[in-house]
């Protein structure tokens, strides 16, 4: 292709789509490329939770709160309803350790904005009458939000297209070459794209895509499994799950192994971070079993399905006969320090990486704005130093 794009965005997941949309709002000429179609990665495979409660202190938390604010009015700006809705989140606490952790969170800075409270099991049933709380010591309450993930993608896609983003599906990026002269050549299966700048939002595939470049990115990925049931009459009003202390511990260990550059001892381990909620159409969306086996696979595991369904029935015995329409698995990017990779690459200052977010949906609108700021050489309202992709090679 002969023309030069202002920005080539690689990956049409929620991050790539949001970035493309923000760029086009700033009147840049944008090409959006994906090896498949829309949402072929994790973005069409997630549970749509707008989770802010687990943001780490510092930049992460600031961005999360800002993202949350932006997301709550995004539907109106995009002109498309993606079923954003404030939701009560209930998390069952089943051990003294979890109870202690939860109590600590009550005094944290997110407690107030997210309405953290500790409910007795009986109290929690006022929010969710079908919840069987016999196994819970207490229930952690927060007020967060949910979206319909597919509709969110579509909302961004529609708005981006309307604003002139050019969309290239089935265009796998194979590599980059530096033209000097503030230009990058993006090599794809459909030929070369010249761009002033490139934003890589290739999710779990980012490390593979960037592996030919001399950049150290100790990224890994984890696999998330989920399922959706048939549509039911209105039954559940909250998003209910388990408190996720297991997962936090597992991920710390995985991060340490990654940084030490050793084969992870966590191969084959997995954990369940249950969340069940009813979507506006009536279907129940159930997630998420995560495993740390780093081979790409495209089929779910029995283990995962069994764990998930078992836990759902433990908390909602009423749902025994509810039918599962579909199950799936998708890889999600993972970084050793649980912080995103957000910023230009070392030595390739015109390639910007945006991936590795822990809770992607809530961050998507703000990340898109920051990436667009970078592309326009505008001043950023935050210092992204903590998240710079070069941080690992420096230690």
């Amino acid at each position: 292709m002969k023309e030069t794009w202002d920005v080539v965005v690689v990956g049409a997941g929620m991050v790539g789509l949001a970035v493309a949309y923000e760029l086009s709002r700033r009147n840049l000429r944008v090409a959006l490329l994906d090896k498949g179609g829309l949402g072929q990665g994790a973005s069409a495979a997630n549970c749509g939770l707008v989770l802010a409660s687990d943001a780490e202190p510092g930049l992460s938390r600031d961005l999360t709160l800002e993202g949350f604010r932006l997301l709550s009015t995004l539907s109106a700006r995009l002109g498309y309803d993606f079923e954003f809705e404030q939701k009560t989140f209930l998390q069952a606490l089943i051990s003294e350790t979890e109870l202690a952790e939860a109590e600590e969170m009550l005094n944290g800075p997110l407690s107030k904005p997210l309405h953290f409270r500790l409910l007795t099991p009986e109290e929690s049933r006022r929010y969710e009458p079908y919840l069987d709380t016999k196994d819970a010591l207490a229930v952690f309450h927060s007020l967060q939000a949910v979206v319909n993930p597919l509709q969110l993608l579509f909302a961004y896609y529609r708005a981006a297209r309307r604003q002139g983003v050019t969309w290239f599906p089935k265009t796998e990026v194979r590599g980059f070459s530096d033209y000097g002269n503030a230009q990058v050549a993006v090599q794809t299966e459909r030929g070369e794209f010249k761009a002033r700048k490139v934003i890589v939002a290739a999710g779990a595939w980012s490390a593979k895509l960037l592996s030919p470049l001399p950049v150290e990115l100790p990224m890994a990925f984890i696999q998330g499994e989920a399922m959706v049931t048939e549509a039911l009459p209105s039954l559940l009003s909250c998003c209910t799950g388990l408190f996720t202390s297991d997962r936090i511990d597992l991920e710390k260990a995985l991060g340490a192994d990654l940084l030490a550059g050793k084969q992870s001892g966590l191969e084959e381990t997995s954990c369940l971070e249950l969340d069940v909620r009813q979507m506006q159409g009536g279907n129940l969306l159930i997630g998420q079993k995560t495993d740390y086996n780093s081979a790409y696979r495209d089929t779910v595991s029995w283990n995962g399905m069994g764990l998930m369904a078992g836990q759902v029935l433990r908390w909602f015995p009423t749902l025994r006969a509810v039918r599962v329409l579909r199950t799936w698995v998708s890889p999600v990017a993972f970084t050793p320090d649980h912080q995103p990779l957000l910023g230009p690459l070392p030595h390739f200052e015109n390639i910007f990486l945006a991936t590795g977010f822990k809770s992607t949906i809530v961050l998507t609108p703000i990340v898109a704005e920051l990436a667009a700021d970078w592309a326009c050489d505008a001043n950023m309202p935050y210092d992204l130093g903590e998240f710079r992709p070069a941080r690992f090679g420096e230690e």
């Binding site: 049931t229 048939e230 089929t299 069994g306 998930m308 029935l313 509810v322 039918r323 599962v324 199950t327």
Partner: protein, 500 residues
């Protein structure tokens, strides 16, 4: 010239399940019984039925119709019944005794009987539409005679009219014979036959066009296509290319001999039309009894019980049993009949595996049996007592998975082919699903087959791990395929003709 007319205590017209059981029960009471049928083989409808009968196991459900026919025939012979086959009763003269006139190849034969049981079954209804006289339009009974008895394929692509049990079952029989079924059309909004029979067709990808009707057929020498109209839509009818149109639009009780004798008839729509008044004891004519489809179109289990009942009534009429014996014997039959005759309501179900299925331990029987139908071979054939239906027989099966040994008997015996076995090991990559399979092409271990879902959707190629075909399964195989866990719970069978 002396009177050479044979004399018997009980003459039974019709050697279907009703007539055969009437014979068994009257002979058991000591009557001299003659069973007459116009066909060469006894069994009535059963002779043509190559499928496994639904119904109660006590009435041989789970076996194929033709096997039930020969079983009952041997039972009746052993009980002492005499058979006059290849004879059609065309008249009955006199009432005491009844003198039956039978057309045979050599002329008329007569038979005097002190009592007469009519078990003449039912005859099929036809449907008239433009082109209905073209070769290629035939009734379900005719097509069954051609395909199942005479082994002649009348066409290659059939449109079935009628989604009652007969239409559904005959469509499935045609599939077994390698004939394709373009669609099943019925004007009612719901499938009238049992859900499980419709499900067998759905698995094979046959569209069930309820709320549709046939407007006519086109063709010069024979049927080339049929015009089918969606009754709920203003759109033009669609033309479906078929070479055969098969009518399964209900049956009418065969009551001509009752009329001939001047017996009372009453109209009962639910039973198929005019039926003898008074049930098994035809009112107005002492010594005359009716049973089976002739007294109201129903099912084989019901025909058998009614036959038994008619045999008992005749025995009582002849003084062979006391009133007390009659009451004792008939009480159980009445209870069974009441149970079997419960109305079956249509259900609209689509199956996907449930959450509890996913959460289950190692092995799981899946029973896609959503309708309250009188059927229980699964319960009776489970060696561990893990399946419970109990009474009434219309209860839906309940499975105690802790007791299940995974033998697969229920999979093999279920007349609806609605039982599946799902097995997986927690760590394993593959799960195994077993389903019932019959007919051609044969499958073997190691074959790659196209797995299909309950709605006929092709799910992907999977490998056959095991084919279990015991003699007791009567030409059914339990096929076990290995598939990924995202696929296995959804597999309900394999596409015919796509293995290898």
């Amino acid at each position: 010239m002396g009177d050479r007319t044979a004399k018997v205590d009980v003459a039974i017209v019709g050697a279907g399940p009703a007539g055969l059981w009437a014979g068994i029960s009257a002979s058991g009471a000591g009557a001299v019984v003659s069973v007459i049928d116009e066909n060469l083989r006894p069994g009535g409808q059963l002779v043509k039925q190559i499928h496994k009968f639904f119904g109660s196991a006590q009435h041989h459900a789970g076996q194929r119709g033709m096997a039930i026919a020969s079983g009952l025939y041997h039972q009746a012979e052993a009980a002492g019944c005499r058979f006059s086959l290849n004879r059609r009763v065309y008249g009955v003269y006199g009432r005491g005794p009844f003198r039956l006139a039978m057309a045979t190849e050599g002329g008329t034969e007569y038979l005097d009987a002190r009592s007469l049981i009519l078990a003449t079954g039912a005859s099929e209804n036809a449907l008239a539409f433009p082109g209905w006289t073209l070769p290629g339009v035939m009734t379900a009974g005719a097509i069954q005679t051609l395909v199942n008895l005479q082994r002649v394929v009348p066409g290659h692509r059939v449109l079935m009219i009628g989604a009652g049990n007969v239409g559904l079952i005959v469509s499935y029989q045609l599939l077994l014979a390698g004939i394709s079924v373009a669609a099943v059309v019925d004007s009612k909004p719901d499938v009238g036959g049992y859900w499980v029979h419709a499900a067998k067709l759905a698995k094979a990808g046959v569209p069930l066009l309820t709320g549709h009707t046939i407007l006519g057929v086109r063709g010069e020498e024979r049927v080339r296509s049929a015009l089918v109209k969606d009754l709920r839509s203003p759109r033009q009818p669609v033309e479906i290319a078929v070479d055969t149109v098969c009518l399964a639009v209900g049956m009418t009780p065969s009551v001509r001999l009752v009329s001939l004798l001047g017996g009372h008839l009453v109209f009962e729509g639910g039973k198929g039309g005019f039926v003898p008044a008074g049930g098994e004891t035809v009112s107005g004519i002492p010594g005359l009894f009716a049973a089976g489809d002739a007294s109201g179109v129903a099912e084989a289990s019901i025909a058998m019980e009614e036959g038994k009942m008619a045999g008992i009534c005749a025995s009582r009429y002849l003084g062979l049993i006391s009133e007390k014996e009659e009451q004792e014997k008939s009480r159980g039959i009445r209870e069974t009949l009441a149970e079997l005759r419960q109305p079956v309501r249509p259900v609209r179900e689509e199956f996907s595996p449930s959450l509890s299925l996913f959460s289950s331990p190692v092995r799981r029987v899946i029973m896609e049996c959503p309708q309250e139908i009188p059927c229980n071979p699964c319960e009776k054939n489970c060696p561990r007592g893990a399946i419970k239906i109990g009474r009434p027989i219309t209860n839906r099966p309940q499975v105690d998975h802790a007791l299940c040994s995974g033998c697969g008997n229920c999979v093999a015996v279920c007349p609806g082919m609605a039982c599946y076995l799902l097995e997986y090991d927690r760590g394993g990559e593959k799960a195994k699903l077993s389903f019932a399979y019959e007919g051609w092409p044969l499958v073997h271990r190691g074959d790659w087959v196209m797995a299909v879902a309950g709605d006929g959707r092709k799910l992907g190629r999977v490998q056959v791990e095991k084919v279990k075909s015991l003699k007791a399964y009567s030409a059914t195989s339990v096929v076990t395929v290995a598939a990924g866990p995202e696929l296995a719970p959804y597999i309900r069978g394999m596409a015919r003709g796509e293995n290898g």
